[in-house]
Structures are given as C-alpha cells and as structure tokens.
C-alpha cells in the first residue's frame, strides 16, 4: 500500500466526518461505506486519526477491522481522477448517518 500511495501527480483530496451512527461502524454502515468507495476509480483510504494509519476504504474486512466507535472522527484520503468527488461523497455519507449514498436516497 505504501508504494501505491507514493504515485505522484494524481489529484488528491481529503475530508472528515464524525460517526454519529449509534453503536459505531457496524456491518451495515461499513458495507455501505465500501460500496460508495468502490464506485470511484480513485484509491480511497480511511483513518481514525489525521496522521493515519490509513487503510483501504474499499475492503470490508479492513474497514470493519478499524472497529470505529460511535462519535469517532473518520478521515478520508482519496487519490485519483475523481478524488475530490470520492472524498466528499464519503464524508456526506457518514455525516448523513449513512442515508445519503449519492443515489438520491
């Protein structure tokens, strides 16, 4: 993953959101998060602190393994052609308590 993250020249965007989902990042919201992340061609990472460690937001196993608790701040970092859209879509998803998945829900 380190080498992947070293790619130069690609657009990069960051965002953050507080997880207000009762109980934390459980299976259901984690699946939604990875589904939204996978819609973008950009590589997307997620972390619980601004300095990382960063993990692949497209892997349900990795996202679940963060065991993100209720009220934690989630940081997103996207790299690729649609990085800005990816970062903002993920923040919007978390802020809306997983109701706004960009599908007009």
């Amino acid at each position: 993953m380190t080498s992947e993250r070293m790619k130069a020249g690609l657009p990069r965007a960051r965002s953050r959101a507080v997880l207000t989902h009762a109980g934390g990042l459980h299976a259901r919201p984690a699946i939604k998060l990875t589904q939204v992340a996978k819609r973008f061609e950009s590589a997307v990472w997620i972390a619980l602190a601004e300095q990382g460690p960063w993990i692949d937001a497209k892997s349900i196993a990795r996202v679940m393994a963060t065991k993100t608790p209720y009220m934690a701040t989630l940081y997103f970092d996207a790299e690729g052609g649609d990085a800005a859209e990816a970062a903002s879509a993920l923040a919007r998803l978390v802020e809306s308590d997983f109701t706004d998945d960009g599908n007009g829900a």
């Binding site: 109980g23 699946i31 892997s59 196993a61 065991k67």
Partner: protein, 544 residues
C-alpha cells in the same frame, strides 16, 4: 416410545429472545472433521476454492432474496461482502503455495480472522466472530460437497452456536433455539428477537441422546427436555395466555397511552447511551424521560470532551424529533465507578459520594457537561436533571453552575439555549421536604427512593417483602410529592422498575401521576396496563 421412558431434564440458560416454544428436539453436532483427501495441484486446489466461494456466495444471495426483511438481508450482505473481499480470501489462496489442501487452507485463514473478532473488546465486534464462522463453514461444506442436514419446521434446536444463515434457512413455525454458547449481541439473537423465535443462550451442557421433545420457557429461563404430562399441560395453557397478551400489547405499541377512564398518560422511555434507539420507532413514546449519561461518559477523557458530549446529545434529540428529552447529569459513584473521578474504597458507597454530590466535588467536570447540554438545548427540547439531590442548597449550587455555563457560552458567542433544570427525587429527605426545592420539574427515582426509604437493597431476595413498591410508606411518599407538584403546576414524572411493573401502574395513576418513564422493551405492556385501568383520581399532575 423413547419419550415415555426418558426422564425430564431441565437446563438453565439466559433468555435473549422471549417466548414459549414446544417441538421436536434437534441436537446439532459441532463442526464435522475435515474429510481426508488426496491433495491436487495448486491450480486444482485453487479452482476448487474459487468454485466453493462462488457457490456459497450464490446461496447467500438466494437466501437474502428469500429473507425479505432488512435485518436479515444486512447480516447476509456482510458475509457476501466479506467473501468478495480479496483481503479475506487472499491468505487462503496464498496457503496453497505452502502445500495446503483447500479445506485446511480455508479453515486456517478464516480462523485467524475469526480470532481477531473473537478477541475484540467491543461486544458488537466480538459477536461478528459468529458470522465469520458461519461463512467459513458454508464454504467448507461446499468444498466437501455436503449440504447441511435439513431441520423440520417447528423444531427446538439445541447447538453450541447457531450461525445466522443457518437460522434463516430454518422454518421456525413455533420452534425455538437453545445454545450452549452464544451472545445476546449476536446476529442470531437479533434475528430471533425480530422474528419472535424464543431463544436461550449459555444453557448447561448435557447428553440429550434418546430425547425427542423439548420446551423452551424463557419466563423461567429454562430448556425442558422430555417434559412430563403435567409440565406439558401447564405449558400449553401459558402459551395460550401469552399469545393473547402479546397480540394485545402489539395493538398498543405505537398508540398513545390512555387509561380506560380517558386520562392521557405521558409515556416516556429510558435511554442508556442512545445506541439502543437505532431500532426503535420514536412514535412508540411521548419522549425520553431519562438519559443515563454514565454510558456516554465512561472515562476521564470523555468527562473533559465537551464536543463529543454535545454531539451525543444532538443525536438523541434528532431521534426524538421534537419530543421532550430529559438528560441526567453524570450519576457516578455507588455501583458505577469512574477511575480518577469517583472515590475509591468508600466504606458504604450507596450512602457516600455519588450523583450530584460527586459532581459538586468536581465542578469543572459538571460545567463541561452543562455547557454541552446548553448547546444541545438550542437544537431541541432538552431538559437537564440532577441525581441524588438531598438538600435545597445542592440544587441551588447546580443552578449557579448552569447559569455560569450559560453566561460563558453567551460571552463566547456560542449558540445555546437555557434548559430547564429539574431534580431526581430519590432521597427520602428531598421527597419529604419537596416544597423547599427550586426545581423546574421533578422525576421520582423509584428504585433508590424505595431502597433508601425501606433501608433494604434490591439485590437480596430475602428483603423482597420489605422492598415492596406497593407498601403504604412508598405510596404515601410518592402521593405527597405528586400532590405538591400538582398544586404548584410543577411537571412530575416517575422512573424506575415500578413504572414498568403492571401491578404498580394502576397505583401510580391513582396517586395522581400522569407521566412515567420505562425501558423501551416495556412500552407496549405498560400502555396496555394503562388502557385497562380506570383512574381513581379525576385530576392528575402536569406532564414532565
């Protein structure tokens, strides 16, 4: 027949889904040993594995379509998503290179990931280990070409653990589950509750060979194997009564609470940290009568985190959608210690530094909470309640701290509102002199009030007769507090076990109470008890 000769066996367990069930006993064996088999080439093993994963996935997707409810679909979707994630499956494929057969490679790779979940501190994540075992075993069955044994509809299933996808394959039709392992947070427990399938966990181990019939009785926390005719007849009549009561309670769950004599009663719910609201329809209640902030403020870091508290309160207000929400300030001490905050090794913690007494010892911590509460009050009808008030001076000091927190926010230009400040009435000294307190509202804390009034703890069954909530001393005291509140138009409510006890609800209405706060699980039952009662006092106290 075996049933006539087998002796009755009663096994204790912990109910996680209530109900009564009776049916044919099916004991599921633990995981079967791996069949030994000639190992193929790396390519052969790899394609066997791909095929097994694909076929397990397809089965889960089909099961999802059949399940028809969001809860079950989400559980199965998790397994489908995990099977599609290379992070999950890659280690098994990597193991072929080291010479492993598909079965062993898959089991080893999954067991490693299952262990990580199993060792998690958080109960929710720990319970996911069971979902992963479910997924592991389905793929293993596919690798071995075997299908799980079919279970007849209406069976009583006894097993070590029951995977959620297995649960969803079974036609329950009046059957039930008893597990020797299991967790109340497991997906199978949630499914059982959602579908009304009675379920016990942690039952004692026993050899049940030769038995063919069983009852699950969650009222008595018991699995009864080979019941005799007396037990069976008694059980059948209880089953019938429970069915009538349940149908009646369902009618009431989202209806307003109205007594048989026409009085409208405000029915509020008690909340721990807000996470339990996820599955609850706000239409079932008139608001939240008690938020216990001890579960939001678990440690020293939380106590200092105004932003986190603010967001937690906002979340609860958002759920309540305009209904009133009463939040109790930190009620630590007694049986609820916080390192660095509560007093260690107090000789008698229940009569020591707890509730507001402790808050006034740490005014900085209370101020942080009051700031968070005043900020959240700008977002919805929030009220602040302080616990364990004994003398009027303590309440005055709490109000002074609230006033100064509000002044601070105003000076800083932070959006806020001034919340009402009420008190919990749970110390007899406060109840007896209630006219001396300057509270915007009252909430009678029946559990502690009864314990302090009768000098008896709830924990001892020997003291139960002394602890009776319907004894004259308790009802007179509640009556006097309610009467004072009515005369001065002070909103008054009651929380505690008494409020959800069907035996006590009529008495509470008769002493004039018109507002009670109960656990969410009791809402329908209490509304039905209210609907059956003709209230003796024509005029009640104001709502909280």
């Amino acid at each position: 027949m075996e049933r006539d000769t087998a002796a009755v066996v009663c096994l204790r367990g912990t109910p996680v889904s209530p109900g009564l069930a009776r049916g044919r006993l099916v004991v599921l064996a633990d995981e079967s040993p791996l069949p030994s088999r000639e190992r193929g080439s790396v390519d052969q093993e790899s394609s066997r594995m791909h095929a097994a994963i694909a076929s397990a996935s397809a089965e889960l997707v089909a099961l999802m379509e059949r399940a028809g409810d969001a809860e079950a679909q989400a559980i199965l979707a998790f397994q489908v998503a995990m099977l599609a994630d290379p992070v999950v499956t890659e280690p098994a494929f990597a193991a072929f290179e080291a010479g492993a057969a598909a079965e062993q490679a898959w089991r080893d790779a999954m067991d490693l990931q299952i262990r990580e979940y199993h060792e998690a501190d958080d109960l929710y994540f720990r319970a996911r280990a069971s979902d992963l075992r479910d997924m592991r075993d389905r793929v293993l069955r596919k690798l071995g070409g075997a299908d799980a044994i079919a279970i007849a509809p209406g069976s009583i299933v006894v097993a070590a653990d029951l995977p959620p996808s297995r649960f969803l394959e079974i036609a329950w039709d009046g059957g039930g589950v008893a597990l020797t392992h299991g967790s109340p947070n497991s997906h199978v427990a949630m499914l059982a509750r959602a579908r009304g399938v009675p379920m016990l966990i942690g039952i004692e181990q026993a050899d049940l060979r030769g038995h063919t019939e069983a009852l699950i009785d969650t009222d008595n926390a018991m699995l009864v194997v080979s019941p005799d005719s007396r037990l069976a007849v008694d059980f059948a009549s209880r089953q019938q009564r429970a069915g009538i009561a349940r149908a009646e309670a369902e009618r009431y769950v989202n209806a307003p609470a109205i007594a048989a004599s026409g009085e409208r009663v405000q029915l509020l719910i008690n909340v721990a940290d807000g996470s339990e609201l996820e599955r609850l329809d706000p239409a079932c209640c008139d608001g939240i009568g008690l938020v216990r902030t001890e579960l939001i403020l678990r440690n020293a870091a939380d106590l200092a985190d105004e932003e986190k508290q603010y967001l937690a309160y906002c979340c609860i207000l958002r759920w309540a959608a305009g209904r009133p929400v009463t939040i109790r300030t930190l009620d630590a001490g007694g049986d609820k210690p916080i390192t660095g905050y509560t007093i260690e090794r107090e000789p008698n913690p229940f009569l020591g530094m707890r509730g507001l007494r402790l808050s006034l010892l740490h005014p900085g911590v209370l101020t942080t909470q009051l700031r968070a509460l005043a900020r959240a009050a700008a977002r919805g009808p929030l009220k602040v309640m302080v616990p364990m008030v004994t003398s009027p001076r303590e309440l005055d000091r709490a109000r002074a701290l609230l006033d100064s927190a509000v002044r601070g926010l105003r000076k800083e230009g932070v959006e806020h509102a001034v919340p009402e400040l009420g008190m919990m009435v749970e110390v007899p000294a406060a109840a007896l002199a209630i006219d001396l307190f300057d509270a915007d509202f009252l909430s009678i804390g029946a559990n502690d009030l009864i314990a302090y009034l009768t000098a008896s703890s709830r924990d001892s069954s020997r003291l139960a007769p002394l602890h009776d909530p319907l004894q004259p001393a308790v009802l007179r005291l509640i009556h006097d507090v309610v009467e004072h509140a009515s005369a001065h138009r002070i909103p008054v409510s009651l929380c505690g076990d008494m409020a959800s006890d069907e035996r006590c609800v009529p008495a509470l209405l008769d002493v004039g109470l018109r507002s009670i706060s109960v656990a969410p699980v009791s809402v329908a039952r209490v509304k039905s008890a209210i609907a059956r009662h003709r209230v003796a006092t024509p005029k009640g106290a104001p709502f909280a």
